[in-house]
């Protein structure tokens, strides 16, 4: 086996390379830059022709911007999770190819031709749709984040994983095209269900786990989408091709992939994923259930442990992501001193409901140590809590829904570490 460089070595190399670039790129360079004074091969001959890559991948220089797995977390990669490289991305849309995956029995191969969606239970007419049927309903486009309820879950007992990808990477944000679930339920007819306010839909996937979940009818009729496109193209296999459920603002486990059945019911099924998992145990041993909404949360994506400062002192862009499952982000504050003082960051665009918001703090770094934090606020007035505030209410055993404020210790040499502060 080839020797794998340690993460620290990687960081050192990155810092060294950064230093070299800084010197070469300085405006007051002592000697002429050969990249400018000498004709470079790419400026002389040809690049690739148009048909070189009929479907393109990122250029090889970017091949460290990939999903990564934390092997010790789970027994088997077929029932596991990996993490979006949020430390290396910008903007808000997550490319499908590096958007985190979470499977309970692997990403299955399901052709459009073999796809069936059944609606049954308390409906006027139980129906079966093919993929082609779904494309004939009026459709909508929406950008939403999808966050696993366990995102940051390894950090309940303290700082554990060193990198925004690992602490906050169980999230992606895509533009979905699909049919409102409401439309499909109305096609089957809801008169039989009677009073809708205490009704539920049970949704399940076509894979071996099938991952059944119960969703209250209010939500089902509100903004849930039966989606078949993401970021303009077909869903990827690992995200539920050909059809998945999109449940805006609610925990990712409910976003059933390869969705095959929707049953209208008069009570929640209390399936495995809504009782034994995705329930939040408090310090006294009592557990919260039905904690569906993802609370407002944010994280500085750069600088961060996997994205150290490599350019020395001077202008520095501090950037990150903020989101809320209850509405739109209205404000993000950033602290450089571990939460003692805060500055309000610039939002790249006004926050959108249940979608990622990008923030920037354009600053001048004097090279001193920073304890970087970000704090999100949403349009319900909710302010992202500190980890201490969360632990005071919930204890350490909740596993899920950790939306506490993250701290990166950035040292004078530009390296960053996941820490907790007083």
């Amino acid at each position: 086996m080839t020797h794998k460089p340690s993460r620290r070595q990687f960081l050192r190399n990155t810092v060294a390379a950064g230093a070299a670039i800084t010197v070469a790129g300085k405006a007051d360079a002592q000697s002429p830059d050969p990249l400018i004074t000498e004709v470079q091969p790419w400026a002389q001959s040809f690049g690739d022709g148009v048909d070189e890559t009929p479907y393109g991948l990122p250029i090889s220089y970017e091949n460290d911007v990939i999903r990564r797995n934390v092997e010790w977390l789970t027994a088997d990669t077929v029932s596991s999770i990996n993490f979006t490289p949020i430390h290396a991305l910008d903007g808000t849309i997550t490319p499908q190819g590096c958007a985190f995956e979470r499977h309970h029995s692997g990403a299955i191969d399901l052709k459009k031709e073999d796809y069936r969606l059944m609606i049954n239970g308390l409906v006027d007419t139980p129906l079966v749709f093919t993929y082609a049927d779904l494309e004939r309903f009026p459709r909508e486009n929406h950008v939403y984040f999808c966050e696993c309820a366990a995102n940051s879950g390894m950090e309940w007992a303290g700082a554990q994983l060193n990198g925004a990808q690992f602490t906050h990477g169980m999230i992606h944000n895509m533009e979905y095209t699909g049919v409102p679930l409401r439309t499909l339920l109305e096609e089957a007819g809801l008169d039989t269900a009677g009073d809708l306010k205490d009704k539920w839909v049970f949704v399940e996937g076509a894979d071996a786990s099938s991952n059944g979940r119960s969703i209250p009818m209010e939500k089902a009729l509100d903004d849930v989408l039966v989606a078949f496109k993401a970021n303009g193209e077909a869903l990827r296999k690992e995200h539920g091709y050909p059809v998945r459920l999109v449940v805006p603002g609610w925990e990712g486990n409910m976003w059933i992939k390869w969705i095959r059945r929707i049953e209208v019911m008069d009570a929640a099924v209390q399936a495995r994923e809504e009782t034994s998992k995705y329930t939040d145990t408090l310090a006294d041993g009592v557990s919260r259930k039905w904690t569906w909404e993802m609370d407002a949360k944010s994280v500085v994506t750069s600088p961060s442990p996997q994205s150290p400062i490599t350019h020395g002192t001077g202008p520095l862009v501090i950037t990150g992501l903020a989101w809320s499952g209850r509405g739109a982000i209205t404000r993000v504050d950033v602290s450089k001193d571990g939460g003692m003082t805060w500055e309000t960051a610039r939002l790249a665009k006004a926050g959108e409901k249940m979608a990622l918001t990008r923030f920037y703090l354009d600053t001048d770094w004097d090279g001193s140590e920073m304890m970087l934090q970000s704090r999100a606020m949403d349009d319900t007035g909710y302010v992202q809590p500190t980890k201490t505030q969360l632990r005071e209410v919930r204890g350490l055993n909740s596993i899920y829904h950790n939306n506490g404020i993250q701290t990166w210790l950035v040292r004078a040499n530009g390296e960053a570490e996941n820490v907790e502060v007083s």
Partner: protein, 355 residues
């Protein structure tokens, strides 16, 4: 909830301009047939709705569990390695590290029946008969000291079983316990006692995955092939490594590595491999059947090995094509590799791992 519904309706009315108008049904799709609904409508509710007619007890369950579940969950439902523990953990939910099992945590027995029949056995979901599921569940309950070994679990006795943590859940109360407190105008200056100190560092634990050599396409197949060839000199029987070296097709093996993903849930191969649901596959090509140390084979597999079955390329291909037809009674629950190309590729991949 009704308040929510009202505001939703108003919102929906307001946003009609942006959303496509849905005045009437479009007549798309077709009526689901009763047989189709019966095939997929398997969910079981806490009150027992959906339970099939059937029964089983812990003694029957123990035997089925040993064959179909114990490889991951342990003979006593205690869990192996990182696989879920199904028994134990009584009174630990308020401890530092609670053990959440069917007995200690799950509020409804229906959840376990639904999940076992829906998603288990891992890698062979949906294959358990109704009586088998009742029996397995009875064994899990017995392992949690929740029933006696003569208790017959059935659709009729199902609700007689008391789940210890049935009252251990509350509906999400964040609105009352958290939101009310976390909506004040946030502090901007002098927000905490100075100086702010680091209280915990991730690097102390050092559990972050090491940076992988992503920039270099991993030459894994070549690297592993090198090992058996080197070892050939020291091995008293050089035939097998020589075959590996002579007839090995690295490209085919690389394809086989992809096919092997289907096997990985149960089998490990190469350095550090351990027996899991299935035996270690290092050196399996041309090895006698049923002879991997420490693996509990089915009786037919043990017998086949004793009768002289060798996992030649042809024998392996035939087995992989349809495991259960090739060897009736095998513990391998895999449905089979239909494609001959896949069979050959995965065998080539396995060849790269000699003993």
């Amino acid at each position: 909830m009704s308040k929510f519904l009202k505001s939703t309706t108003i919102l929906a009315a307001l946003s009609l301009a942006a959303a496509p108008a849905m005045a009437q049904k479009l007549g798309l799709g077709r009526t689901a047939l009763p047989e189709e609904i019966a095939a997929w409508n398997g969910d079981i509710s806490p009150d027992g709705t959906g339970l099939p007619i059937g029964q089983g007890d812990a003694i029957e369950g123990e035997e089925i569990f040993a064959t179909k579940c114990a490889a991951c969950h342990g003979d006593f439902a205690e869990g192996i390695g990182n696989w879920p523990k199904l028994a134990g953990g009584k009174d630990t939910l308020n401890h530092e590290d609670p053990l959440k099992t069917v007995g200690s945590y799950w509020p409804y027995l229906s959840t376990a029946f639904d999940y076992i029949q829906r998603s288990m056995p891992y890698g062979d979901a949906g294959t358990l008969g109704d009586d088998e599921t009742y029996a397995i569940l009875a064994y899990i309950l017995y392992s949690n000291d929740l029933i006696e070994d003569d208790f017959v679990l059935s659709n009729e006795t199902f609700l007689d079983v008391a789940m210890p943590n049935a009252d251990g859940f509350i509906v999400d109360n964040r609105a009352e316990t958290e939101y009310a407190h976390w909506r004040s105008e946030p502090c901007m200056e002098n927000c905490k006692a100075a100086p702010v100190k680091v209280t915990m560092r991730a690097m102390v634990l050092d559990v972050t995955p090491q940076e992988e050599a992503a920039a270099v396409p991993a030459p894994e197949v070549e690297a592993v092939v090198a090992e058996p060839v080197q070892e050939a000199a020291a091995t008293p029987e050089p035939e097998v490594p020589q075959v590996v070296a002579a007839s090995f097709d690295a490209e085919l093996a690389a394809q086989g590595e992809k096919v092997f993903r289907k096997c990985k849930a149960c089998h490990q191969v190469g350095e550090g491999a351990k027996n899991r649901t299935g035996p270690i596959l290092t050196g399996i090509v041309d090895k006698a059947a049923g002879t991997v140390d420490g693996f509990k084979y089915s009786k037919p597999m043990q017998q086949a090995g004793a009768d002289g079955l060798i996992w030649s390329q042809d024998a392996l291909a035939a087995f992989l094509a349809k495991p259960k037809s090739y060897m009736k009674g095998t513990k391998m629950s895999f449905a089979g590799l239909k494609s001959e190309d896949d069979q050959l590729a995965v065998i080539e991949y396995l060849k790269s791992f000699a003993d």
